[in-house]
Each structure stands twice: as C-alpha cells, then as structure tokens.
C-alpha cells in the first residue's frame, strides 16, 4: 500500500507545483501547457497499450469522439460546465472503446496499428460529410464555466482552465500509475513479454489488451474534451492520421516507464513545434522531423528512461520487445 500512498502524495505535490507554475509563467505558456497536458492524456492511453505490447495509430478516433461529445453537449444542450463536458468526453471514449475493443483485441503489432488507423480515417471521412457538425470546418465552442464559476477576464479563464486540466491530468496520471504498479498492470507487461505463458497461467491476453484498449479510449476521450475546451474549436482533423501519429510520437518520446515523462514530453513537443515554426517559418516541419529522428535515435527508451537512470537499483522494467509477435515465440 505504501506505493499508493507515495503516488497520491506525488499527485498532491504535482497539483500544487502545476498550480504554482501556471501562476508564475506567462499566459502564452499556460495556454500551451493546457493543450499539452490534454494531448498528454491521450498519449498516456497509448502508453497503457504499449505496456501490453500494442501501439494504436488511431487514438484520434477517441480524441475526436471526446471533443465532439463535449462540443455537441455545449452547442445542443447548452452544457457549459467543464467537469460535465469532460465527463461526457470520457463516456464517449468509454462507449466507443467498449464497442471497438472486442474487434481489435485479437490483433498485434503493425496489424493492430493499421486497423486502428483505418478506423480513425473512416471517422474523419464521415465527420467531413456531417454538415450538421460543421463538416470539415468544424465547430466553435465558447469558454466553459468551472463548477459554476464563470471567469470574466481571459487571463483568469485560461488560468482556470489550466488548473482544471492539471487536476484532471494529475488524477488520471495517478490512477494510471497505481494501475501500472498493480498486479494487473504487471500482467500487461507479462503479456507483452510472453503471451503463451500468460495463457498457460490461465489468463486471457485478449482481455488484457481489451481492457488496456478501453483505458486508452477513455483517456483519449478526456484528452479530446479538454483540448476542445482549450482550443475553443473542434474539427475532423482531430481524427486525422497525423494527429494520431503525434500521440504515438509522444508515447515513444516519453517511453512507457514513467507517467510523468508523458506530460513532460507533451510540453516539450509543443515548445519545439512552436519555436521552430517561429524561427524557421519555411522549414519548421523539417526541423520537427530532425528533432523526432534525434529523439528516437538517442533516447530509445524515451524520456522516462532518462529518469530511470536516476534510480539506484531495484526491479528493472522490461526492454521494449524489438521484434514483431512472430519472432517473440521461442
């Protein structure tokens, strides 16, 4: 139980630290950080999948579902409270996840990745033709309220949203940490390591992956809803493959060891992107590409592995299996 207490303590500290950081940093950074944390949540979902050995290239599906759930609730039913909207985003992700998980739980490696990608592109195509949801131009959302509080000044609004996002993020992150450290979390690790043994021990790899997938879906929905609130705009690009690709990159960049690393990675990527597009408006994409390459080359284990090196000793986590499922068999 000590582990849980530590995690919760860390969570409280994190909340305080974030609140403070948001207070001392300039508004533009608060805005960037809010979006980064929201995207980080989606990537955290991929991390949950990665621990089971799967990587989804279609998390845009759930990101989009969460965003549009929040958007529709706001526009059609006039729901304006952030907490409610995010809850709806989570539910949207949950439902979609529960529907899709059984279809995908049987697949592995690149097949899983491509199938998720195909699904997200279908969602993208359908949204582009759904004129009632603004078609390809999408919809605008107005600023949310927070448990009844309507911020007047834009500074307050962005800080309030940042605080709220931080709260949601930290809670989600703490829950994930606890889950990852739990016996069931360890089982995901084991399933990536050796499916045959897991089955022979009496557990179902399908179920393990299915549950991880649903977790990822919910996180995707939450992240989508939060992003929608911080952007004030949603459009089908939320489901486009480049969006999903960005989440995968975040997950790879952070690695699956540390939960905190996911959000550090998210903020880092946002900063790199915005600064490279400020200083090289004509070649920012290339700059981003180079950054990507270097990270993957020099941080195979992700940022998390950096933090790992700070650790004295103890249970080393598994190396990422460098083969496809077929090779994994002895």
């Amino acid at each position: 139980m000590a582990g849980i207490v530590r995690t919760l303590a860390a969570a409280v500290i994190a909340c305080a630290a974030l609140a403070l950081a948001g207070f001392v940093t300039p508004n533009w950074f608060v805005l960037v950080a809010t979006l980064a944390l929201s995207k980080g949540l989606v990537a955290l979902g991929i991390v949950a999948l990665m621990r089971g050995g799967l990587v989804s290239f279609g998390q845009g599906t759930f990101y989009c579902a969460g965003a549009y759930a929040a958007g529709m609730a706001m526009r059609s039913f006039g729901i304006g409270d952030a907490a409610l909207l995010v809850a709806l985003g989570a539910i949207a992700g949950l439902i979609l996840g529960i529907i899709i998980a059984p279809l995908l739980a049987g697949y592995r490696g690149i097949f899983f990745a491509t199938l998720t990608l195909a699904l997200s592109m279908i969602v993208y195509g359908i949204l582009n033709k759904t004129y009632s949801l603004g078609g390809s131009d999408g919809l605008n959302l107005h600023a949310p309220s927070f448990f009844g509080y309507h911020p007047a000044r834009s500074q307050n609004a962005s800080y309030a949203l940042f605080l709220f996002t931080s709260l949601v993020t930290v809670i989600a992150a703490a829950l994930c940490r606890i889950h990852f450290d739990s016996v069931r979390g360890l089982l995901s690790h084991a399933a990536r390591d050796n499916e045959i043994r897991v089955e022979y021990l009496g557990a179902s790899v399908r179920w393990i992956n299915g549950i991880n997938f649903v977790i990822a879906a919910v996180l995707g929905g939450v992240g989508g809803a939060l992003s929608a609130l911080s952007l004030g705009h949603i459009d089908p690009d939320f489901a486009f493959w480049t969006t999903s690709g960005e989440f995968v990159f975040l997950a790879i960049l952070s690695g699956y060891v540390s939960v905190t690393a996911v959000f550090v990675a998210a903020i880092l990527l946002e900063l790199v992107r915005s600064y490279s597009s400020q200083y090289f408006p004509n070649t920012w994409q290339g700059a981003l590409g180079v950054f990507l390459l270097l990270i993957i080359l020099f941080l195979p284990g992700g940022l998390g592995s950096l933090a790992l090196r700070l650790r004295p000793r103890g249970a080393k986590p598994a190396r990422a299996p460098a083969e496809n499922p077929n090779d994994r068999a002895p």
């Binding site: 950081a21 300039p26 508004n27 960037v32 979006l35 131009d137 540390s258 004509n282 994409q285 650790r311």
Partner: protein
C-alpha cells in the same frame, strides 16, 4: 524512487519555464509588429501562400518607404514602421490557434493578418476574441464567421464566398447563356461543399430550368481525376461547374482538356484566375473564370491599382498578379486605414487593440480591386464588387487574357446586412442592387 524521477521531471519543467519567462520583450512604440499568416508549405503554398507573401512583402516594403500614392502615403501605419512575423498556415487548425496565441502573448505582435483556409479562420477567431487582440482575415471564404458569431476584435477585409458564386450565376444570365443541365465537381470539404451549394442555389433562382445531373466529390488534393472526367463525359451536362483551386484545378484542367470535357460546353471555374499564369495555353479558351473579387485582370483602372501593378512588376519582373496578391494588399490597406483612423482619434500615439478594433468597424477604403466597405457583420465583414470573364490565349503576350468581362456591384452580389447569405440566395437575392 518515484519521487526521484518525479522531482527530476519537475526540475526539468521548472528549467524549461525559466528559460521562457524571460522571452517577454518590452514593446517598441515606433514599430507596428504584424504577424502575417499564409501557407508557406503544403498544398496551398503554390497557389495562395506564395503570392500572398510576395504581395505582403512588396506592399510593406513600400509602406515602410512611404512610397504609396495618397491616401496611403504615410510611412508604415501612421508613421509606425511595420515589422513582419511570418507564420506558416500549414499544420491544421489546432496549430494555428496555438501560433496565434503565441504571436500575441509571446511575441507581442500588435495585430495578426492572414488565413486562407476557412477552417483556420473559424478556429482562430474565438482565440483572438478571447485574448482581445486585433485579428484581420484577408482571404478565407466561409460566411459562417460573422453569420454564426459576433466578434469585436475580428474583421475580414475581403468579401465572403457567397459572392463568388452569385456572380458566376449572374454572369450566365447577363451573357444570355442558357443551359439545360449542370454537372459539378468540387472538393469534398467545406469550401467545395459551400461553393457548390451557393452556385446551385443561385442558378435555381436565375435559371430554374437548369437541372443538376451529376455531383462529384473528389478528395482535397486528389490530383487524379480520370474517373471523375469519365463520369462527367458520360452524363454529358451542358455546363460543368467547379470550385477546384490550385494544384487540384491545374491537374483537373490538364486531364480534362485533352479528353474534350471543356470543348463545346460551358465550363465555370468559380475561383480560378490564379491558375491561368501557370497553365498558360493549356487552359482552353472560353472558360468562364472568377477571381473572388475584381482582382488581377478584372481590376479596373485606379491610382492605387496602377501603382500596385507597377510595384509588383518592379519587385517581381514577369509576375502576373492574381487574387491572393490582391486580397493580401487589400487587407494591408484596410488595416492601415483602421490604424491611422485610430491614431487620428487618440492623438497620434500607437493605438492599442481596443482603439484599433473600435476604429476599424465599418470603415471603407480604396484597394487595388476597387472600393471596399465593411458593411456586414456589424461592420466587420467586407463587401466588394466582383467580376467574371472568359479565357482567351494571347500568343503574342504568351498569357491568358480575360475577355467578355462583366462587373457586378458589391450590393448586387453580396447580401444586405442582417440576412444570412444562404437565406438571401434561397429567397432570390432580396434587396440586391444591380443597377
């Protein structure tokens, strides 16, 4: 051990912050920082981004040199030198919102001028409004921006898309072109969908007998239209309408012309003047062209237009100016007018967003394409005159000339205040003044 890792993360985070909190620089009161946003990469770079940047550079250089004719002869904006920050519009609406916020909050620009894509315009407008900073849209077409929202700090210095297609339909009437049936090919995203809806609606009002035979919806950026062309040839409509633009349109023409789709048939390309220079003689004669305003060859003689054409010719020898050149210049001059009006009101000091936004409401100014007026959306949305004409290859000048040109007054092709353009079209253009 989690603490260790966690602390490390926090430290790292703090470090990152530290390095950026410093980036807030003091504002310079003799410089007007202007962020200019256009596609520098991706599918719209060639057709819109590049020309828009060319135009902005030429005009701003001239403004800083104070070499424009009256009433634009003041240096920069009311004496403030203009400093431009280029931003690439590629990368999706999400990125644009972030970049807009960074431009205002981090780089402390005084105003943002830009945006070609309607999706981006819709996305960034609320962000600017939330920050209470001046945002001027110069190109994007969707009417939704001011018909579905009310903004205080957002303006659009060019007419919205409805006029492009109303003008096309009116051109058919004015030229007595009667067609029995219509085939359409438009990209399957908001621009193509809205354009076709407007043209179809306008035609239903003006030439009710024209029936829609086939609607094709290629993907944006498809580049290959063989099958669509076959479908059109098979349906064989008397008129082919398309709102394709840029590389897609060039590819479509390259593939359609050899197969005879554009022969003995009325072809209407609602926003296509910008593909004439690259296509040259590969563009068949007699195609009906729109330029989203009296831009490029449609522009009528005026001091500012004469100056502009000359200025571009010296800056970029051999350049044939097209719509993005005109719409960008139009936006810059509109902003200049607003800033100088604000300075006149506040006693000549550098105006803040509030003053500029207040000053800009409902302004009128003369731009290369003609007289522009912020008449719609409570004085935030411009209307302007529009024109259409037919292509004619001029072998001596080695360029496509536009002939049989018809001009349409702003009030003739734009809705009056207080009515959504879709309804205005559906109700048969109530209150349209077409002299």
């Amino acid at each position: 051990m989690k603490f260790r890792r966690f602390a490390a993360a926090l430290v790292a985070g703090a470090g990152v912050l530290g390095s950026f909190t410093t980036s807030a620089t003091a504002q310079d009161d003799n410089v007007f920082k202007l962020a200019f946003v256009a596609f520098l990469s991706g599918q719209a770079a060639e057709s819109f981004g590049k020309p828009a940047v060319q135009a902005a550079t030429a005009v701003i250089d001239a403004l800083n040199a104070g070499s424009l004719p009256k009433p634009y002869d003041k240096v920069g904006f009311g004496g403030l030198k203009i400093e431009v920050h280029l931003i690439d519009e590629a990368g999706g609406a999400t990125k644009q919102v972030e970049e807009l916020r960074n431009a205002f909050e981090r780089d402390h620009v005084d105003a943002v001028l830009g945006y070609v894509s309607s999706g981006d315009c819709l996305a960034v407008s609320p962000a600017a409004e939330e920050l209470k900073k001046l945002l001027v849209l110069f190109d994007c077409g969707t009417p939704r921006i001011f018909e579905e929202n009310q903004f205080k700090y957002v303006f659009r210095t060019a007419a919205h898309g409805a006029m492009d297609n109303v003008a096309m339909a009116r051109y058919l009437v004015k030229r007595g072109i009667k067609v029995a049936d219509v085939g359409a090919i438009n990209q399957d995203y908001a621009w193509g969908q809205d354009s076709w809806k407007d043209f179809k609606g306008s035609l239903a009002q003006l030439e009710p007998e024209a029936k829609t035979k086939v609607e094709l919806w290629p993907k944006f950026g498809a580049g290959q239209y063989g099958t669509e062309i076959s479908a059109l040839l098979q349906e064989n409509p008397a008129l082919v309408y398309s709102s394709l633009w840029g590389g897609d349109l060039q590819a479509f023409v390259l593939q359609a012309a050899p197969r005879g789709l554009m022969k003995d048939r009325v072809v209407v390309l609602s926003a296509s003047d910008h593909v004439l220079p690259p296509l040259g003689n590969k563009m068949p004669d007699g195609v009906i062209i729109g330029a989203r305003g009296a831009n490029g060859q449609f522009a009528e003689k005026s001091p500012i237009n004469d100056w502009y054409v000359a200025a571009l010719a010296t800056a970029y020898p051999g350049l044939i100016p097209v719509q993005p050149h005109y719409r960008a210049a139009q936006g810059l001059l509109g902003l200049k007018t607003a800033v100088e009006k604000a300075m006149a009101a506040n006693g000549g000091k550098k105006p803040n967003s509030e003053e500029m936004a207040a000053a800009m409401v409902g302004i009128e100014w003369d731009a290369p394409p003609g007289h522009i007026k912020l008449a719609l959306g409570d004085g935030h949305q411009a209307i302007q005159s529009n024109a259409a004409g037919r292509t004619k290859w001029d072998p001596d000048a080695k360029m496509v000339r536009l002939v049989d040109i018809e001009h349409f007054a702003a009030e003739c092709v734009n809705p009056p205040p207080g009515i959504k353009s879709a309804d205005w079209i559906a109700q048969g253009f109530p209150g349209a003044k077409c002299d």
